[in-house]
């Protein structure tokens, strides 16, 4: 079947391509990663591409030491989902020294490494952060107090999304950021941190911005409980997050949640892998290609599939 998405002629049949993939790991616990990798496998099988995967298991040190394993197998391209934007650079250098084109996915790398990268493909955390921030602030009518719960400390996406909110909020004099606490991309911590916020700020809270749908769901559960207990008035607090999961999508559907930005692992994987294949096949691609991440709102959610997260 014709692959029109190639937008060019491969230097050799797609089915002869060999692509290496080094990713942050955590496929164990992390559904997004798991589904992303599953999608890659699926596509590779369909297209008959040989996919060599190394898993860094959340350890930047290991990831750098694993890249030589890929390089040694001389793939047509190496796809890197970097754990540490700066820490990966020496490894990327090795790859480009070995004449293997590198495609970075999901997380962009440090400027000092740009010259070793052929293309970057994936979601745009700053954009998603902005989308979520905008949606929340609109829902709040441009004014009110917001509490923020970030993802795990020191992880680029968490930082970028959080920063994006601050940047947007800066444009609105009536939006006040009460406090930021750091969570762990999980419902549990989202819940407990939100409970603490509620005890601390009570009715002053008008909106909640989180780094992802899990944390957002947790925060919602806390607020819902507080509403039942009468601490907060029902429906007053608004929610939005830059990275949808099933539950945050459901909340949007039920109109309890203003917006969640749909960054779907399958879509992300497919989008990025196509770029990678094109690079491997020697077809020119833009330096940056960003995944479309629609914002699901109570009005339009039906247009999009429910995330399997």
């Amino acid at each position: 079947q014709a692959q029109d998405w190639l937008e060019g002629t491969p230097k050799k049949p797609i089915s002869d391509l060999k692509i290496g993939f080094s990713f942050r790991g955590g496929a164990g616990g992390n559904l997004y990663v798991a589904q992303y990798v599953a999608q890659l496998h699926k596509m590779a099988d369909e297209l008959g591409i040989e996919l060599v995967i190394v898993d860094a298991e959340d350890d930047p040190g290991r990831q750098t030491q694993q890249l030589p394993e890929l390089i040694a197998q001389q793939p047509d391209a190496i796809v890197v989902w970097a754990l540490s934007a700066a820490g990966i650079v020496p490894a990327l250098k090795q790859a480009s020294d070995a004449g293997i084109p590198v495609v970075t996915v999901v997380a962009d790398v440090d400027p000092s490494g740009q010259q070793y990268v052929k293309a970057h493909a994936g979601p745009n955390d700053t954009l998603q952060g902005t989308q979520a921030a905008q949606a929340l602030i609109d829902a709040m009518g441009g004014k009110g107090n917001v509490v923020q719960i970030m993802g795990t400390a020191g992880f680029a996406p968490a930082e970028m999304r959080a920063q994006a909110f601050r940047d947007v909020a800066a444009k609105y004099p009536d939006i006040k950021l009460l406090d930021t606490q750091v969570g762990t991309w999980s419902v549990g911590t989202g819940q407990s941190l939100m409970e603490n916020f509620i005890t601390r700020f009570g009715k002053d809270i008008d909106g909640v911005i989180t780094s992802d749908g899990y944390t957002g769901t947790g925060a919602y559960l806390a607020v819902e409980a507080a509403e039942k207990a009468g601490t907060l008035e029902p429906g007053h607090v608004k929610f939005a997050d830059p990275n949808a999961v099933g539950t945050s999508y459901d909340l949007v559907k039920d109109g309890k949640y203003s917006a969640t930005v749909l960054q779907l692992p399958e879509a992300d994987a497919e989008f990025s892998f196509k770029i990678a294949i094109r690079v491997a096949a020697g077809i020119e691609v833009p330096r940056y290609s960003y995944l479309q991440t629609p914002v699901a709102t109570p009005q339009n959610y039906a247009d999009y599939p429910r995330p399997g997260l």
Binding site: G29, Y214, T217
Partner: protein
């Protein structure tokens, strides 16, 4: 407490004040860790008064009741002179299991299934350590890895959330109240009380201390050391299972990493309480204190809006301080 609000102290004769001070000092050296805690809380309460609100206190207790349950369980193992570092992964597993079973088989079966899973893990730990006499640290480290692995596999492939949480009475475990006190807190306190009774008042408890003190001597004294060790691992596992139920029922959905790091926190709580590896000193009461200290320090720092990195710095320092004070206090008591 009068140290903390000097203003409240009635102007008394110098002798009176002296007497009060002496009293306060004695009180301090009886419960130095608690005293430290009170100082910490009261000083932060000036910034954030809500800390002392009943609501917040209940909140802290509930947030840490799962950890508390697990710490109580591990205390049994520690008193036997062993360690159990598999409880974090075990909690993750029981969370994943209970959620995976919930919608298909209903809460009852799900709970039983999850507790049974925990029990099996405990039995494996216990058998390996007590009867095959493997080093408890390495064994439970192995289980720590294996169980997290299993939890991940189930968590990724299985069901991750309960369709409509409000319909299931399972939600009550994590979210319900009795007499205005959260149900998890009831669970924690009940189990802690029972545990304290078993350790402190029953022959089983005495046997545990004996085995912790000297396994060989207790065997010569016709104590079935192996059984004792086996059952303390079972207890540790079952408490962990209960903890898992709370975590699961709070969120009504499963994240395979729900329990990550809890083994370290539980051990911190135990040693912070002053229980020492191998019987001798310590017990459930001390563990409960340890848990409460951990909990309130964490809560206090969040409540004053301290950034997490600073929270780490402070809580680390406070823990060392607490352990130190406690050891001094114990030495003083020996000489008194």
């Amino acid at each position: 407490m009068s140290t903390d609000q000097p203003g409240e102290r009635p102007a008394a004769a110098p002798l009176g004040i002296g007497a009060v001070l002496v009293h306060v000092r004695q009180l301090f050296w009886r419960f130095p860790v608690v005293a430290l805690l009170i100082v910490l809380i009261c000083s932060t309460a000036i910034i954030t008064p809500q800390i002392l609100s009943l609501g917040n206190i209940l909140l802290v207790l509930r947030q840490f009741s799962a950890l508390g349950l697990m710490a109580v369980g591990v205390t049994f193992v520690v008193l036997c002179g062993r360690l159990d570092v598999s409880i974090g992964s075990m909690a993750s597993l029981s969370v994943v299991v209970v959620i995976a079973l919930h919608d298909a088989f209903g809460p009852g079966i799900a709970i039983l299934g999850s507790l049974a899973t925990a029990a099996i893990c405990g039995a494996i730990n216990g058998y390996l350590v007590a009867y095959l006499r493997l080093s408890s640290l390495v064994t439970t480290l192995g289980m720590f890895a294996a169980l997290q692995g299993v939890a991940n596999v189930i968590g990724i492939s299985g069901v991750q959330l309960v369709k409509n949480p409000d319909a299931s009475w399972f939600a009550f475990i994590g979210r319900g109240y009795i007499l205005g006190i959260p149900f998890p807190v009831w669970m924690f306190l009940t189990v802690a009380a029972t545990g304290a009774w078993v350790i402190g008042a029953t022959n089983f408890g005495r046997s545990i201390r004996a085995v912790g003190g000297s396994e060989k001597a207790s065997v010569y004294s016709s104590i079935d050391a192996k059984a004792i060790i086996f059952w303390s691992f079972m207890i540790s596992a079952l408490c962990t299972g209960l903890g898992g139920l709370i975590i699961a029922s709070r969120a009504m959905q499963a994240q395979a990493d729900s329990g990550v790091g809890m083994e370290i926190m539980a051990l911190s709580a135990i040693f912070l309480g002053g229980t020492s590896l191998g019987g001798g000193v310590g017990g459930i009461g001390r563990t409960v204190i340890g848990v409460i200290v951990l909990a309130s320090v964490n809560n206090t720092l969040v409540m004053v809006g301290m950034p997490i990195q600073a929270q780490w710095l402070v809580s680390g320092t406070v823990i060392v301080l607490a352990v130190w004070l406690d050891s001094i206090a114990r030495r003083r008591r020996l000489l008194a």
